[in-house]
Symmetry: C2
Subunit: 483 residues, 2 copies
Amino acid sequence: MDAGSGSGDKAEFFTQGRRWLKALPVKFKANMVAMVRNIRKLGQDDPRRVIHSLKVGLALTLVSTFYYCQPLYSNFGVTAMWAIMTVVVVFEFSVGATLGKGLNRGMATLMAGGLGIGAHHLANLSGHIGEPILLGFFVFLQATISTFLRFFPKIKSRYDYGMLIFILTFSLISVSGYRDDEILEFAQKRLSTISIGGSACAIISTVVCPVWAGEDLHNLIALNIEKLGNSLEGFGDEYFKRTGGEESKDDKKFLEGYKSVLNSKNSEESLANFAAWEPGHGRFPFRHPWKLYLKVGTLARECAYRIEALNGCVNADIQPSSEVGSIIQEACTNLSIESGKALKELALAIKKMVQPSSADSHIENAKSAAKNLKSLLKSGIWEDIDLLKVIPGVTLASILIDVVTCTEKIAESIHELASKAQFKSVEPTLSTEKLHSGQIQSVKSVQMVNCSHVVINVGESTLPSPPSESSSAPNASKQRMEV
Amino acid sequence: MDAGSGSGDKAEFFTQGRRWLKALPVKFKANMVAMVRNIRKLGQDDPRRVIHSLKVGLALTLVSTFYYCQPLYSNFGVTAMWAIMTVVVVFEFSVGATLGKGLNRGMATLMAGGLGIGAHHLANLSGHIGEPILLGFFVFLQATISTFLRFFPKIKSRYDYGMLIFILTFSLISVSGYRDDEILEFAQKRLSTISIGGSACAIISTVVCPVWAGEDLHNLIALNIEKLGNSLEGFGDEYFKRTGGEESKDDKKFLEGYKSVLNSKNSEESLANFAAWEPGHGRFPFRHPWKLYLKVGTLARECAYRIEALNGCVNADIQPSSEVGSIIQEACTNLSIESGKALKELALAIKKMVQPSSADSHIENAKSAAKNLKSLLKSGIWEDIDLLKVIPGVTLASILIDVVTCTEKIAESIHELASKAQFKSVEPTLSTEKLHSGQIQSVKSVQMVNCSHVVINVGESTLPSPPSESSSAPNASKQRMEV
């Protein structure tokens, strides 16, 4: 603090203070505008958020009428509080999460209530001094055991909340019994208020603009595969345009789409977990094979790792010389565009829930492009070129060839999904001629997929190809016959 | 059911039933044994789980004494229930998570209690009919707004639980006020019982065998980098042994260690989030730079993507021919072993919280191995070999060279962490001579890192190297001078 060192300093201090005070409303206004913009963006990104918030408000207001209506209040009294609590805690964004939490809460309350009453009666038998000791021991024992059980991965993923409520209810009911002998009524009131709150959540979340976790998972997987396809399609053009000398940093954003796929594991798993709690909805029956989506997601992530490596090539300091580029450009571009198209067709097939046969021809094209690329690499045209200049091109080519393998695996897993989930086969009315030639092509390609599985595997394929699943390809071709 | 088709079938049915009944105890015993084994394994994997369970039991038993002691019960009555609730809900595995939840719950209750009382008074003014309508409107409004705010990523990551409790408390207190005019006492009781439960959690989780999220994050990052190092070290040997003809599927497990690094993002982020709530503990002061660990973690993950690509080479169907293998073997093995050693030294430096200067020499070695590899690729010895046979080796080499770049970046970020977190410089007493030569080497290497940053960048380096951070390397060398 040097405010006291002179009158000039003091004056300056006050001037600064006045300036700061004058700037305050401007700053405040700027902050408010930024906040409003943020809020609007959050709502526009996913309008279901706004609807969800309104739904929570509605459920809470409905349940709080218990307090306002005399007949309801005289029945439940203060325990109506638990209905409010249940709504606040159980109401989640998706129907599956809400139902899962509600069922967990209900079942856990029922079981823990029964056990708690049992513990209370047992403790009652042991006399005035023994009762609190025995009750304390029971509470300690069940809390310790239940907490430990929560570490089991299977329990953690599906019943974690139930275990929590089990501990809570058991402790509350067995301990309350010490003071209040109307423990049965207490337990029954807790159960019924929780059921009322839970039912309100379940009904409002299912009926009013429901958000289905299963549908979200379905769309997320389709979107992720589409992103991979976009990145691949754009890649070929982008890479060789750049080595041709033109720079286009702005256009590269769509190439980055795959990045979000790299870390999508957790959201996929939790969505699949929620989806398992949901009843049939829209196009998805109860017991839709949600787990297969996780398999497709894992393969998509493996493909994304490859594209990450490709992206490394785009950003590398050393680019293939133009003579190398011109030799492999066509095959590479073809390969990446065809793989990209195949992935986009697969994504579209998932979205529309039809058999993904239209992707097969693109996969065939990608495979023949890979064959081309391989024979180019085999040919003698490289002998005159410095190997160091060839390296970036060769690396690129072998990663691309690996991408084709990944794409094939994704297609297989989606074929499996399509047959297990009984996706529709494509209607013959849609441009029959094109479809017809497509059919022949795709039947051929399915045969080729089945018999020559590992032929074009150059470079760094990840895993030995699994035995082709008999369920997918034959079913696909059978359903195509029914068209 | 064909049980009625003949007496023979009936007899068989009963025989089967008897056999099933006889087998029941055996099955039951086998299931029990399997369960006990699972439970024991869960406890042995991390004994802190058992301790945590006991701690929860202890806290809950302590808090439930409120019900047993007459003087305590007469003070709080049934509201003592909230103390039990708080313990069950707030007590988490790590200190940071417990403190974070407890503080969230406490602050939210305080704020919502104040607002709830305000809402109650405001509604009170509007007469007998207007009161429930106005109260309902307030509940609806705040539930909607608060639920929407929970979608903000920043609020979601740190204050999600607080927002939940805010909605809960506001609704409870403003609604209860309609029936019970002693609303101030109600709010005060809720706050004090929650504080008691929260304090019990905070004290027990901090004092009795505490589990610190910060320490876990620190160890996780060190372990992940060590895993990468192990995979790289083992890789060189494994790859060329296999191309030499020997198969050793069993030994390959340690190569898979890096896989868990690929998906570690979420656990790292939540640990860093919890760690921010923790006070200083052990070697970590309050405001330890936890966010830098996330940066190191991100770079480690990028390195893991490269190793995933390397793993693709190991599992590829086409392996480099033995003549190609013999040419690049030494350089590749050197490179991967030295990068692996560097990463393991870095992991050790993090573990021991010392300046990571001992890794610098290994990084230098890895860089010169990369140089070697590059000049090998440049040399004319390849002209007689079929290019297709060269491809796997070249791909391998260029990914390995990229791994060196990744290792360098990890080292830089750990240097930054070491200087920001003021890691100790290495004591001069430990084998002075070796250390002395190491010092010269590492000072040299730091200079080299600073001046020639992108020299050895062949193939698919990911991103243009960032401007070398002035904070890390100079500080590191300065601290080394202080030794």
